[in-house]
Structure formats: C-alpha cells, structure tokens
C-alpha cells in the first residue's frame, strides 16, 4: 500500500466526519480493480481502479485520493478529487458537485456533471503577518496558560522542569520513542476507520503533552529571571522558549534537530514524571 495516501485519508475522514456522513458506512477501496454497482454511504478510492458500470447508480459522496475512478453510470452525490485520476465516460453522470482539488481528470463529450468547482491553492509565499500569526497566537495562549498554571500548581511544573534539566538524555529517549511509536500507531488506527476518533484523540493528547512540556520548559527558563512573580516569569519563559524554537528552526537541518530535541525532552519529561505528579527517580545503581 502507498503510505503517501495516509495524510490524504486523514483529510478525507475529517471531511466525512465534518459533513455528518456516518463513518461506519464508509468504504475505503485500497487496491485492485472493482466494479461497484451498489453502495450507500461515503466511498473512498485509494490505490485502486473503481468503476461504476453503465446503468448503475451509487449514492456517494465519493472521495478520490489515488488510483482511478471511472464513471460510466451515475453518482447521485458529490465527488471530491484530491489526487489520482477521474474519468467520466459518455453517459456518465455526477448529480452532485464535482470538487477538484488535485489529480488528473478526463471528461467525455457526453459526460454530465451538475456542478463543478476547483479549489486553487495559492503557490505564493504568505506574507509575514499571515505566516507568523499562528505562532504568535500559540505563544500567547501557551504563555497565558503557563502563567496561570504556574501560580496554581507550581509543583507540577517544577517536577517536569527539573527532570528535563537534570535528565535530558532520558527525557529525550523516552520522548523520541513515544512520539515515533505512537504517531505510527495513531496513523494506522485511522486506517481502520472505526478507530479514527481514537486516532484523532490520541494525536490531540500528544499535542497537549508537547504543549505541557513547552510550558514546563518555560517555567524552568522563567526561574532564571529570579523574580517572585512566578506567573509572569513563566509567561515570559514560554515566550522565550517559543522564540528560541523559531530562531533555531530557521537553521537548516541542525536547527530542526535542536528544536525537535527540545520538544522531545519536554515531552519525555512530562511522561516520566506522570505529568509532574511525581518526581522522576531513576533506579539506583552502585557507583
């Protein structure tokens, strides 16, 4: 199976969920040649050749993310093409909207399509304001959360921060292992369709944990300011960490490695301290 389909599949599943279609009736055709004569619910065409024969009708919606989708008969619902090939033969009909985002398409003269739209992605680089707005908003949000949390539960951030500072190798190892393994597990969960919500939930928890790690690193950095105002120090520390991530991220390869390492250290420290509820104590070995 072509693993490049995975991100497209995730996007499609999000679109299906947002559109209110029942995920359980969704069919994902991954490989081979198929003639489909009857189907209710969403249909996703992966690395397969799917044909709707003459005089046959399916309900749709249909999402094409790879392979080839040939319409000789009729699709009652919408067709969304993100990649792959779409062929509508003479007599082939799409009653809903054909939304073209990517991939190749071929229409016979007698093909009937009720409505067509094309989504164009602007290739130009976004302006500096558009580029940095999400980062600034994220930084603002995390620094506010950090300022509030450090006043309410400083012991938790202390445990995580101390572990990240005193045991960076352990934190990095645990963070790296967890991120590699669970990222792969969640992506594959998405393929089962049934576990898609669990997959999204897992990814969200992962992001929250990374954010927690950034806040803890910000708390650690804020302590260096040597001010009794813990909330302010943590907020500024979080800003400092976020700026640092942006600055080092600008250095090719090495910068990404440093930024990734920092995030993974935070993630690992959060996990080994049970979100700061317990100090991390490595097993004692004889000196």
């Amino acid at each position: 199976m072509n693993l490049e389909l995975i991100p497209l599949l995730i996007i499609v599943l999000l679109m299906i969920s947002a559109g209110g279609v029942d995920v359980e009736t969704t069919e994902f055709v991954i490989e081979g040649d198929h003639e489909i004569t009857e189907h209710r619910g969403a249909l996703i065409v992966g690395d397969a050749t799917v044909t709707i024969p003459d005089d046959e009708t399916i309900s749709g919606p249909v999402y094409v993310i790879g392979g080839e989708f040939q319409i000789h008969g009729e699709v009652e619902g919408d067709v969304t093409q993100l990649s792959g090939s779409l062929v509508v033969e003479d007599g082939g009909t799409i009653d809903g909207e054909l939304q073209h985002i990517g991939g190749s398409e071929e229409f016979a003269d007698e093909a009937a399509i009720a409505e067509r739209s094309t989504v164009e992605f602007a290739p130009a680089e976004p302006g500096p304001i558009a580029a940095y707005t999400p980062v600034v908003l994220t930084t603002l949000f995390l620094s506010l959360v950090g300022a509030w949390f450090s006043r309410k539960r400083p012991a938790l951030l202390e445990n995580v921060g101390t572990t990240a500072r005193d045991h960076p190798v352990i934190s990095l190892t645990v963070g790296a292992l967890l991120s590699v393994t669970f990222l792969a597990v969640f992506v594959f969960m998405a393929f089962t369709l049934v576990l898609f919500p669990v997959s999204i939930l897992g990814l969200l928890i992962g992001l929250v944990t990374i954010a927690y790690g950034i806040v803890a690193l910000g708390y650690l950095a804020g302590k260096r300011l040597d001010t009794p105002r813990v909330g302010l120090a943590t907020g500024l520390g979080v800003v400092g960490i976020m700026v640092l991530l942006q600055v080092v991220g600008a250095i090719p390869i090495l910068g990404d490695l440093i930024a990734g390492g920092l995030l993974l250290i935070g993630l690992g420290a959060v996990v080994v301290t049970y979100f700061g509820l317990q100090e991390f104590e490595p097993v004692s070995l004889p000196e």
């Binding site: 072509n2 045991h167 070995l285 004889p286």
Partner: protein, 425 residues
C-alpha cells in the same frame, strides 16, 4: 557513566577492559549474526544443494546442541571456578576462536550433507562453550553502572556492520571476512594464554569489587538459579527471541521484503537500517540503565506486536509496490532493544558464583532453544501451506499475549509477595 570517571582519573587499565569486552563481544555477535545465521543457510542450500527445509532442520539441531553445550560448560565453569579466572577464560576463548577459524576456512569446501552435519556438531560445541566464556566477561570488565550503555554499544555496532557488509549473504563472502577478522584475535589470545601481564592481573581481580562482581539485580540478595527472579526473565526473553525468529524466518523468504530492506541494492536503505540499529540500541541502553527492566520488555513486545501488525497490513492491503521503510524500521528497533537487553541482563542476574550457569541458561534457553523451536514451527507452518499473512498474524497474537501477560504476571507476583509478607504494602 563510570567510564568517564576512569578517563578523568586516567585509569587506563579499566578502560582497556571496556575495549576488550566491546571488541570480543561485537566480533562474536557479528560472527553469529552473519556467518552462523545466514552463511550456513547459503552453504546448505546453494553449495550443497539441500532443500531449505532440510537446512532449517540442521540449523535447529545446531541451536539445540549449542544449548546443551552452553549449559554443560556453564555449570562446569562455575563449579571449577573458571568463570572468575580470566586467564582460563582467555585460554578457552583462544581454543574457541581457533576451532572456529578452522571451521570458517573449511566451510566453503564442504560439499556433502555428512560433512555439513559434522561441521555443525563441532561448531555448536564451540559456540556453546563460547556463551558462558564471553558473556561472563561483563563481570570482569564492565561495572554495573555502565552495563546498559556497553551492551548498547555492542548490539549497535554488531548490527551496524552486519547491515552494511557483506551485502551478499554467501558463505564464501562470509568466510573471507570472518577469517581475516579472527586471525589477529587468535594471535593476541595465544599470547594472553601463555604469558601473564600486570594489566591483565589487575583486570582479573576486578570482579572481586562489588561494583563489578555483583549484578544489578543481585542486590541486596543474589538471585538463585531456581527462582522466579531468574526464570521469569528467561521466559520473557524466550518469548522475545521466539517471536523475532518465528516472524523473521518467513519474512526473509519474501523477496519483496528482503530486497527492499536488509538486502536492498540501495546503499542508503542499508545505511538507514544500520544507523537505526545504533539509535535503537542506545535508546534501549538508556532505558535499561534508568528504568526497571520490565519497561524494556514491555517496549520490546509492543514494538514486535506493532511491527507484525504493519507487515500483516502490508501483506493484506499492499499491491506489490515497494513496502515502506517503516516496516523494517520498527523491526530493527525491536531487535536492537532486545539484543541490548540480552547482553546486559544475564550478567546483572548473576554473581561470581553463578555467572557461568546463568549466562548459559539465559542465552542458551532464551536465545538458542527459542530459535530451535521457532525454526521447527516456521517449517511446520510452511509445510501446511499457511500464507505469510496468516503466519505473521499468529506471531502478532503471540506478541500481544506477552504484552498482556507481563503486567498480569507482575501483579500476581506482587500479590504472592504481599501474601507471604515478604514486602511491606
């Protein structure tokens, strides 16, 4: 790391011990990975013309005989005190490598089944003796504190080199490389066998210090051979080796998988695998050093379960395209993890009195017996025409079973401890 203290204090003799250990174990494991596990298959099938099933049976016999030889020699070494006599171990190692050198040189010239079987019998006897001899070096050379890292270096280096060279899994290629590698080792060990050196005398006495001679899990009380504390890890490691071997034996028979990963003509793919072996081993070394060993077991079973899930998924839904590198990636991580654990675990479950027996039983049963049984089972599954996808589904189920069984057994063990009043609640 204790090694850094030695470097800072310019204590070169203990540092030499590290170098001897890493060199000996890396070379030995590389020999086992390549020549024994892959070269003999090529010798049996291509050179002699035996059926793959017959070669697998001979390989299984080799595993079983190695177990017997390992346990026998481990017991004898402990009873006679050879486990703690470094000079005796050097002499035994000299004998082992000399015989293996001769076996390696003659291997490409073997042309009949009878010669092959005789070769295997002699090889298994020396391999078996080699297990307690080499694994017990840990007590002589490596302090408890550094064992996880040193085990990681040995596992990572062995796999790194094996993944890159030689590319062709052919007996003549292996024979040439191994012979060239063993000649200097034989010469050095010959000298060490007959002549005493002051620095070796110092190394020979290191096991008397508790930081070297008493394993991590033998504190405050030593682990008895007939105890759950010893046989629990043996069972878990047996499961790990069994799962690995059972799955890998069938995967390497699929050209689609093997020629796009371990034997890929693309150097970058093999470099990726080699580097990942090192990264995985180092990660395992860190986990072993700072966490309870059961976490490492848990990771290993989890990684194997996920790996086989990926393979089953690819077999069922793949369309014959080049499989993604994520498949061998997780396999490599799992293998590096448990190999690191295997090097460090048995010495850490031992003292100077039990090192020979424990390493022989641990490596023999977990490693060699598991290989023997998984080979037999893989042959059976092939014989009854079980497709690869179905076979790997069973392997996956076994991994999941161990993932569940591990915490359950730990919990039950804790209940028994509490019921007996051995520990406070």
């Amino acid at each position: 790391m204790k090694l850094f203290d030695f470097v800072r204090e310019r204590q070169w003799i203990p540092i030499t011990g590290y170098l001897i250990y890493v060199s000996a174990l890396t070379a030995g494991y590389y020999y086992n990975l390549t020549f024994v596990q892959l070269g003999l298959t090529d010798l049996g099938t291509r050179e002699i013309g035996m059926a793959p099933e017959d070669v697998s049976i001979v390989m299984a016999v080799l595993a079983l005989l190695t177990l017997v030889a390992a346990v026998g020699s481990g017991l004898v070494m402990d009873r006679r005190g050879w486990s703690t006599d470094l000079y005796v171990k050097f002499r035994l190692l000299f004998l082992i490598i000399l015989v293996q050198l001769l076996l390696t040189i003659v291997a490409p010239f073997i042309s009949t089944v009878e010669q092959f079987v005789l070769w295997v019998v002699v090889c298994s006897a020396t391999l078996g003796l080699g297990i307690p001899v080499t694994f017990s070096f840990m007590l002589d050379f490596i302090p408890v504190r550094d064992r996880g890292y040193v085990a990681a270096v040995v596992a990572g280096l062995s796999f790194f080199v094996a993944a890159l060279y030689p590319v062709e899994w052919r007996i003549d290629e292996f024979s040439l490389v191994m012979s060239a590698m063993m000649v200097p080792a034989v010469l050095i060990l010959a000298v060490l066998s007959v002549k005493r050196f002051a620095f070796i005398d110092v190394l020979a006495g290191q096991h008397e210090r508790s930081t070297f001679g008493v394993g991590r899990f033998c504190r405050p009380t030593s682990v008895r051979t007939l105890s759950v504390a010893f046989w629990g890890p043996v069972l878990l490691m047996f499961g790990v080796f069994f799962i690995d071997s059972l799955g890998f034996l069938r995967i390497i028979e699929e050209p689609l998988y093997i020629y796009t990963s371990w034997q890929s003509p693309d150097l970058s793919v093999r470099v990726f695998i080699a580097v990942l072996h090192v990264v995985g081993a180092l990660a395992a070394g860190v986990l072993y050093t700072y966490f309870d060993r059961n976490w490492v077991f848990f990771w290993v079973f989890g990684l194997f379960a996920f790996t086989h899930l990926l393979y089953v998924f690819d077999i069922r839904f793949g369309i014959g395209e080049t499989p993604a590198l994520i498949l061998p990636m997780f396999y490599v991580l799992a293998v590096s993890f448990y190999t690191t654990l295997n090097f460090a675990l048995w010495p850490d479950l031992s003292t100077t009195e039990t090192i020979g027996t424990h390493t022989a039983l641990g490596v023999g049963i977990a490693g060699w017996l598991a290989t023997f049984m998984s080979t037999a089972l893989a042959l059976y599954s092939e014989g009854i025409g079980l497709p690869l996808g179905g076979h790997l589904a069973y392997v996956n189920a076994l991994s999941l079973l161990f993932i569940v069984a591990l915490p359950v057994l730990l919990y039950v063990h804790r209940i028994f401890e509490l019921a007996r009043g051995e520990v406070s609640s």
